[in-house]
Symmetry: C2
Subunit: 137 residues, 2 copies
DNA sequence: TCATCATGTAACTTTAATTGTTACACAATA
DNA sequence: TATTGTGTAACAATTAAAGTTACATGATGA
C-alpha cells in the first residue's frame, strides 16, 4: 500500500528552516528532499495557509517560519496536510443492507477510532522543537 | 490515499460462510462483494494458507470454514492478508545522513508503533464470532 | 527601470500499486 | 464424461500521488 511521506518530509524541512538565518528557496528544499520544487511549494502552501510558515518572492526570497517551533505540534502539521485517515485499512461501502457487513464495519471502526485517537493525542503532545532537541543531544 | 478494504470484505464473507450449510463458490462471494471471482480466490487463498478456510473443487465445491469463528481473531485475518503497515503515514528513506531526518523519523516511528500495538492488541481480542453475535442482538 | 530571482498555479505526464479481466489448466462429481 | 468449480499466470484498467512543464506575477538590487 502506498505511503504518504509528506509529514516526515515537511517536518525535516521545518527544523532545517529554524536553523537557517535566511529564507530557504523551494529549489534548495527540493534538493534536500530529492524531489521537485513545485511539489515543495504545493506542500508548503498548506502550512502557509495555517500560518506556520511564510513565503517571500524575489531576491533572498523563499520560505521561513512564521511561528516558533515550540508553538507547532506534530498534530498541527498532520492536520494541515489534510490526509483523511491515518489508516490503510478501509471499510467497504455499505451499499448493501447486509447487517453483517454493518456489524463488521462498526467493529473495525471502533478499534480504528480508538487507535487513531491515541495517535493524534500523542501527536498533539509533541512540539517540533522537541524533535530538534532530540537530535541535538 | 488508497484504502485496503480486503479485511472488511473478507470478514463479511467469513461470517456468511459460517451460516451457510454448503460451500460457497467464489462467484457467489464475488457477487456479494461486487467484485470478481479471481479477486476473491486470491484473497481467500491467503486465508487457506493459514488454515482458516478450505476450498473444494467440482460440483458443490467452493469455500468453507476450516476453523470455528471463535478460534479466529481479527488479528489472525489481518496478518493473513499480509499488509505491511496499518498506516498511510510513511517515513522518508534515509539515504541521506541528515541527523534531523533521523530524529524526525524516530519520533514518528515511536508514536506509530505505540498506536499500532494498541490496535493489533484489540484486534487480537476480537474473535470473529463476536462480530456475528453483535449483529444478531 | 529592468534583469533576475523567487513563488503561484494550472495543466499535463509519469509512476506505482491494486484491482479487475481473460484464458486456460486441473480436479471433483453427478 | 459433461459440468462445475478452483488455481494461477498474464495482461489491462484504474486510481491517486508525485513529478514536470510552462508561464504569470511579484520583489529586489544593481
Amino acid at each position: 500500500m502506498r505511503k504518504d511521506s509528506r509529514l516526515s518530509r515537511v517536518l525535516h524541512v521545518l527544523i532545517h528552516l529554524e536553523m537557517a538565518d535566511q529564507p530557504v528557496t523551494s529549489d534548495k528544499m527540493a534538493e534536500m528532499l530529492s524531489t521537485n520544487p513545485v511539489v515543495v511549494r504545493r506542500t508548503m502552501a498548506l502550512l502557509r495557509d495555517r500560518g506556520y510558515v511564510r513565503s517571500s518572492k524575489g531576491h533572498n526570497g523563499g520560505w521561513s517560519l512564521a511561528k516558533p517551533l515550540d508553538e507547532i505540534t506534530l498534530l498541527d502539521i498532520h492536520k494541515a496536510l489534510g490526509e483523511a485517515s491515518v489508516f490503510t485499512i478501509g471499510l467497504t461501502d455499505e451499499h448493501t443492507n447486509c447487517p453483517i457487513e454493518h456489524a463488521v464495519n462498526a467493529s473495525l471502526k471502533d478499534v480504528m477510532n480508538e487507535a487513531e485517537k491515541l495517535m493524534l493525542k500523542r501527536f498533539g503532545e509533541i512540539t517540533l522543537d522537541l524533535l530538534g532537541a532530540e537530535f541535538k543531544t
